[in-house]
């Protein structure tokens, strides 16, 4: 099969598989729960941290509205990817999925794209909710950097989510890891706490974990501070590429090990 045909076949698996999986997710969650998880909960999170930020006086309230909106959006990528494997196992379809000759990368990509798009939508709605209810000063010129930041953050988070999802092939309870990742990202990315208030080692860590670069870019844009879109978005996308690379290695290794040990659906 030529490279072009392989690519088309892979993309078909991504699009069709992703659409089916996303439809199943919505049906499983039910529309009210979907609304709560995707819109209402992130909104309340934005309000909460905006109030805390206003109370602390460490930064302008806009800083927290934008930071937590992007943080909430990117989490959709992490939860979406890590739950993709967990849900297949829960519904008893994981073995069927892995027995197919379809490329694992394309399958997982199909699970990631809809949740990442969802995340971007959450960020956009969160920012507009912040403008409508929390007095976020929103000008047309900052919409583009915020949008770019949301896309980059969602992409790098999807990479991290894919690593967690791949580990889910070997280990049963990845919910713990996903939640821990959520809390670490909340603290160490500058979404809820200005990084300048944190110790140096946390600031160093924020350079290699998803979201921090994108969030900083959006916060700088809102505050009217100078920022470099190429540098921030570039750093975030390089991180995304690294996370995706690691995820593919972990995915292949986890699948091989779970097949050899016969633990795919037992763990």
């Amino acid at each position: 099969m030529s490279a072009a045909r392989r690519l088309v076949a892979g993309l078909r698996v991504t699009v069709v598989g992703g659409a089916l999986s996303y439809r199943a997710l919505i049906t499983f969650l039910s529309p009210p729960l979907f609304f709560v998880m995707m819109i209402a909960s992130p909104f309340f999170q934005i309000v909460t941290f905006s109030l805390l930020g206003r109370y602390s006086g460490a930064q302008d309230p806009d800083f927290y509205v934008v930071g937590t909106a992007i943080q909430a959006s990117a989490m959709a990528g992490i939860y979406g990817a890590s739950q993709a494997v967990a849900n297949e196992r829960a519904f008893g379809t994981l073995a069927h999925l892995l027995i197919t000759p379809a490329g694992r990368f394309w399958i997982m990509l199909g699970r990631l794209i809809p949740t990442s798009l969802n995340g971007i939508l959450v960020a956009v709605l969160g920012v507009f909710a912040g403008w409508a209810f929390l007095g976020l000063s929103l000008t047309p010129s900052i919409l583009l950097p915020i949008g770019v930041a949301a896309v980059c953050a969602s992409t790098s988070c999807a990479g991290l989510g894919l690593i967690i999802g791949a580990l889910g092939l070997r280990f049963r309870d990845m919910y713990f890891v996903t939640n821990a990742a959520h809390l670490v990202l909340l603290i160490a990315t500058g979404a809820a706490i200005p990084l300048t208030l944190l110790p140096g080692w946390v600031q160093g860590m924020s350079q290699v974990i998803p979201m921090a670069h994108a969030i900083a870019m959006a916060q700088d844009a809102v505050a009217g501070r100078p920022y470099s879109p190429m540098q921030s978005a570039g750093a975030e996308l390089i991180l995304a590429a690294v996370y995706f690379g690691v995820a593919l290695v972990v995915l292949a290794r986890s699948e091989r090990l779970s097949r050899r040990l016969g633990t795919l659906e037992l763990v």
Binding site: S41, L52, S56, Y175, F176, I187, A192, L198
Partner: protein, 266 residues
């Protein structure tokens, strides 16, 4: 007659304690609750310590550990009590629990009590974090009052959890409400920022929550200031109101689901 009533009450109390301990042991097996009572309060306490620390307000900083502990208590009660009956349904034990000779209220209250008790762990964890890392007091100025406030907070939370558990019998998708209520109650109860910092229209909602009074009472018991006695009383009153509403609600819901034979369908 009086002797029988006393004996029945003793038996109900025993059931409440035995079931409560059993539920507590079961909940501690779930990684979700381990996160909810150990990890999440630590993370939110850390955020609050750093943010409130920037205000340079020693009194506010001293209250952070207590507030973050109560946040853990609320999360545990919310998800534990909200999902309590769903768990029973999943295990296939809902019908035996409903038809048991012990009143259903006692069994549900035991679940709520266990989930609220887990909040004591959160409180311990956040007080330890504050003392070890942020140099805030670990021991309350009035230990007796603090213990009384914590006990009333647990019981009031259990009553609130009991009310939610009943409401969720009627509503199949209880996960919707549980996910929705976590942050708003933290904010309204003044656990993230003082209630006085909230808009005026939020204040009545805030005053109606037992968590608000529990937070104030525990904060005052820690610092040795204010009138924690009055706040403990209000915490108890709001908790009892929840209990009374829940008992009326349970009777209605219980009758309805049995009459329609929809207990396992909801």
């Amino acid at each position: 007659m009086t002797r029988n009533v006393t004996r029945a009450r003793t038996l109900y109390l025993r059931t409440l304690l035995v079931c409560g301990v059993f539920q507590l042991r079961m909940l501690l097996q779930y990684k979700f609750y381990v996160i909810a009572v150990f990890v999440q309060p630590l993370a939110f306490a850390l955020i609050q310590f750093v943010m409130v620390g920037h205000r340079d307000d020693a009194d506010a900083l001293a209250n952070v550990a207590v507030q973050a502990g109560l946040m853990g208590m609320w999360t545990s009660t919310l998800f534990g009590s909200g999902g309590g009956l769903s768990r029973e349904r999943r295990f296939g034990t809902l019908e035996p629990v409903v038809v048991a000779p012990t009143p259903l209220a006692v069994n549900i209250l035991a679940i709520s009590l266990a989930t609220a008790l887990m909040g004591v762990i959160s409180m311990g964890v956040t007080l330890l974090l504050g003392g070890l890392v942020f140099d805030t007091p670990m021991m309350p100025e009035r230990p007796g009052v603090f213990a009384a406030a914590l006990a009333v907070a647990v019981l009031a939370n259990a009553c609130l959890g009991f009310l939610m558990a009943n409401a969720f019998i009627l509503y199949r998708n209880s996960l919707v409400l549980t996910n929705l209520l976590e942050y708003p109650v933290w904010v309204l109860a003044g656990l993230m920022v003082p209630a006085a910092f909230l808009p005026q229209w939020c204040r009545p909602l805030s005053e109606g929550l037992s968590m608000t009074w529990a937070g104030r009472a525990l904060g005052h018991a820690m610092s040795g200031t204010g009138e924690p006695g009055r706040e403990i009383l209000w915490c108890a009153v709001t908790g009892l109101v929840c209990l009374a509403v829940a008992l009326v609600f349970l009777r209605t819901v219980h009758d309805a689901v049995r009459r329609r034979a929809t207990l396992n369908l909801i």
